[in-house]
């Protein structure tokens, strides 16, 4: 279970202190598919980076299975990201000179899996998201957008994370491919019992998730 309490994030800019997040409170149960919507600059990405331990909040707490990740040391945050969090990005962010298989194996390496077991696990994951053997050995530039996002999802799930954080996962795809990717994420939530939090602009997608949070000026205004 993910519990966010009184989360605040401020930045110092030339024009004074900017509050990106103001007193955010939310609770998401394990295995739920939640979406965060809101306009640009509403604080969606900031919230996502706090949840993924990519950044440290100014105040408040983020409890994942009773551990406050905001208070972890940098090294422990790295380990937390490797084992407990999976990221899916809008621009896929695969490592360009590694093949699809190697990209997934990289995440497994960081997750601490022994070298001998990585390849089989990566192949299994990639097959699960729908990449055939030939495609698995291609570099990202030789894969379509949808295929790259599938690799990205396989990478996010590699270490059986507690939470998958998706930043506009379908934002760069056509509506048909976007729908397929969404369905894939949705089915994985069910089969792997993973919590998924997706930031999205797409109201169709937001409408199909278990929970939706709308952010405005750094605060949650609607929760359903």
């Amino acid at each position: 279970m993910l519990v966010v309490k009184n989360l605040t994030k401020s930045f110092n800019s030339a024009g004074g202190e900017v509050h990106a997040l103001k007193d955010v409170n939310m609770t998401i149960n394990t295995g739920e598919f939640a979406s965060i919507i809101g306009k640009s600059g509403s604080g969606k990405s900031t919230l996502l980076s706090m949840l993924g331990a990519l950044d440290v909040p100014t105040s408040g707490s983020i409890q994942v299975d009773d551990i406050d990740i905001a208070k972890l040391s940098a090294a422990k945050q790295t380990a937390y990201r490797a084992k407990k969090i999976g990221f899916v990005f809008q621009h896929y962010n695969l490592i360009p000179n590694l093949t699809a298989l190697e990209n997934v194996m990289l995440a497994l390496e960081f997750g601490g899996m022994p070298a001998s077991k990585r390849k089989a696990r990566a192949q299994e994951l990639l097959t699960e998201v729908g990449l055939d053997e030939d495609e698995q050995l291609r570099k990202p530039t030789r894969l379509s957008g949808g295929q790259q996002q599938r690799v990205s999802i396989a990478r996010a799930l590699a270490n059986k994370p507690a939470i998958v954080l998706a930043d506009e996962p379908t934002g760069n795809l056509d509506s048909e491919t976007g729908k397929k990717i969404f369905d894939l994420l949705h089915s994985l939530t069910r089969s792997e019992n993973v919590t998924i939090i997706a930031v999205t602009h797409d109201m169709d997608i937001a409408g199909k998730t278990d929970r939706t949070f709308r952010l405005k000026d750094g605060q949650i205004v609607i929760e359903k």
């Binding site: 990201r81 990221f87 995440a107």
Partner: protein, 458 residues
């Protein structure tokens, strides 16, 4: 795939760029090796020249240069002064003279040639003109002076010495092909005859010949390999002094100094005690002057090593900074999915190392090929300077000695670039320094990249 193999793979990611970096690195590493080779070879030569220079100090009467120039011979009192100077362990005194065919029964074995004829013409010119002026000043005319000129004749050089080995041209003991040594301190009417002169006059051990109206006995035949020396005679110093009516006079003294460290101070002492009556030169001083150009090559080579090291480090540094900046997002992604700073830095260091190692292999091979020619070219470019600098110092008092010195000077330009394991190890060490410097700063950049950037830039 681990950190190291990812780094190696990344190094080969852009063949064109990696190729350019490797090439630039290879040139600087090649230059480092060449300069190290040049420096060590030149330094070895400097040590060799300095150690072979010996501890001799040569004192000759001021103004005398072989048989040229003018001035008074050194006196017995001056020789005593030299002998009593601190650090002078022993001295060898010589008095040389030239025998014309009227002074001796010997036929000179040295052909005059164009050079000898010219030398003699100028000396007979002055003699005959003085004679005619003295005898009949009124009748003298330039035409008569010219007609009285005698045909040039070769002469035989006689060297009176306290040590027969001083005539040896290569610094070792005089080689006798037959007979026995003479006692340099005696005043016997004995001589050692050069092999050419002996052959010309059919002289053997025990033969006699006439010189200065006295009968001289041949005690031995010597061979130096030097045509000038082998056409001469060696006699005890006192004998020559008596025969030429120059009691106590010498025209060259070679003083041995107890250690090479004391040569300079001994030269200074002698210069002050003998004043302007004598010209003093030492091999150590000449060697120092001769190797000064080599010393400048050595410092030049050191500057080259430092410069090439800096250049190499800057190349790797800038290349890695550029690569890190370019892959900022990628580094952010790796950190976001759980890659620690150590792993990311390790990957980039391994990338820098791969580039440096490839550059080192190419550069060291390049260095092995070019270091020899580069050393020779560095040294030969400086050889004209070396000769100029050695020139005034090398003006020794005796012709044979001068010959020996110019041989020493010409050896200085014969520096061969040789690659020793130590030099190679030094080059490899410097290459390692380059890759460490080249990776340290990018590592700092990498550590500063926050994983959150990956989201913020989207």
């Amino acid at each position: 795939m681990n950190v190291v193999s990812r780094g190696i793979k990344n190094a080969l990611r852009s063949p064109m760029r990696s190729g350019a970096i490797v090439l630039m690195l290879a040139i600087s590493i090649g230059l480092i090796l060449s300069m190290l080779v040049a420096r060590s070879s030149v330094n070895a030569k400097i040590t060799e020249v300095k150690s072979s220079a010996g501890t001799s100090v040569t004192i000759s009467p001021a103004g005398v240069h072989g048989f040229d120039g003018g001035g008074d011979p050194l006196t017995a009192a001056q020789i005593t002064t030299i002998k009593d100077t601190a650090h002078v362990s022993s001295i060898v005194a010589t008095l040389s003279d030239q025998l014309t065919t009227s002074d001796t029964s010997l036929t000179p074995s040295l052909e005059l040639g164009l050079f000898g004829a010219r030398q003699q013409r100028s000396s007979t010119d002055s003699t005959s003109s003085t004679d005619s002026n003295a005898a009949a000043p009124a009748d003298s005319s330039s035409t008569e002076t010219t007609t009285t000129r005698q045909a040039p004749t070769p002469k035989t050089t006689v060297t009176g010495t306290t040590d027969q080995n001083s005539v040896s041209t290569d610094g070792s003991d005089l080689v006798l092909s037959s007979g026995s040594s003479i006692d340099g301190s005696s005043s016997d009417l004995v001589a050692l005859v050069g092999t050419s002169l002996a052959t010309k006059n059919s002289l053997k051990v025990g033969s006699t010949f006439t010189a200065y109206d006295k009968t001289i006995t041949v005690k031995g035949i010597f061979k130096t390999g030097n045509t000038f020396a082998d056409s001469g005679l060696i006699m005890p110093l006192a004998t020559v002094q008596t025969l030429t009516d120059q009691s106590g006079a010498v025209n060259s003294v070679i003083a041995k100094v107890d250690s090479s460290d004391n040569v300079s101070s001994t030269v200074t002492t002698l210069k002050s005690s003998l004043g302007d009556k004598a010209d003093i030169t030492s091999q150590v001083e000449q060697a120092a002057a001769s190797v000064s150009s080599l010393e400048s090559i050595s410092s030049l080579a050191l500057a080259g090593v430092v410069g090439a090291t800096i250049a190499g480090s800057v190349i790797v540094l800038l290349a890695m900074v550029m690569i890190v900046r370019e892959r900022r997002r990628e580094i952010g992604v790796i950190k976001a999915i759980g890659g620690s700073n150590v792993k990311v830095i390790g990957q980039f260091v391994s990338e820098a190392l791969t580039l440096t190692i490839i550059g080192a292999i190419v550069g060291l091979s390049l260095g092995i090929v070019v270091s020899g020619p580069m050393t020779s070219s560095l040294v030969s470019n400086q050889s004209s300077t070396a000769t100029t600098q050695a020139g005034p110092g090398a003006g020794g008092p005796g012709r044979m000695f001068k010959g020996g010195m110019s041989q020493l000077s010409s050896n200085i330009t014969q520096v061969t670039g040789s690659l020793t394991p130590q030099v190679f190890a030094a080059a490899v060490g410097i290459t390692l320094i380059i890759s460490i410097i080249g990776s340290a700063v990018p590592a700092w950049f990498i550590a500063r990249i926050r994983p959150g950037e990956v989201l913020r830039t989207e």
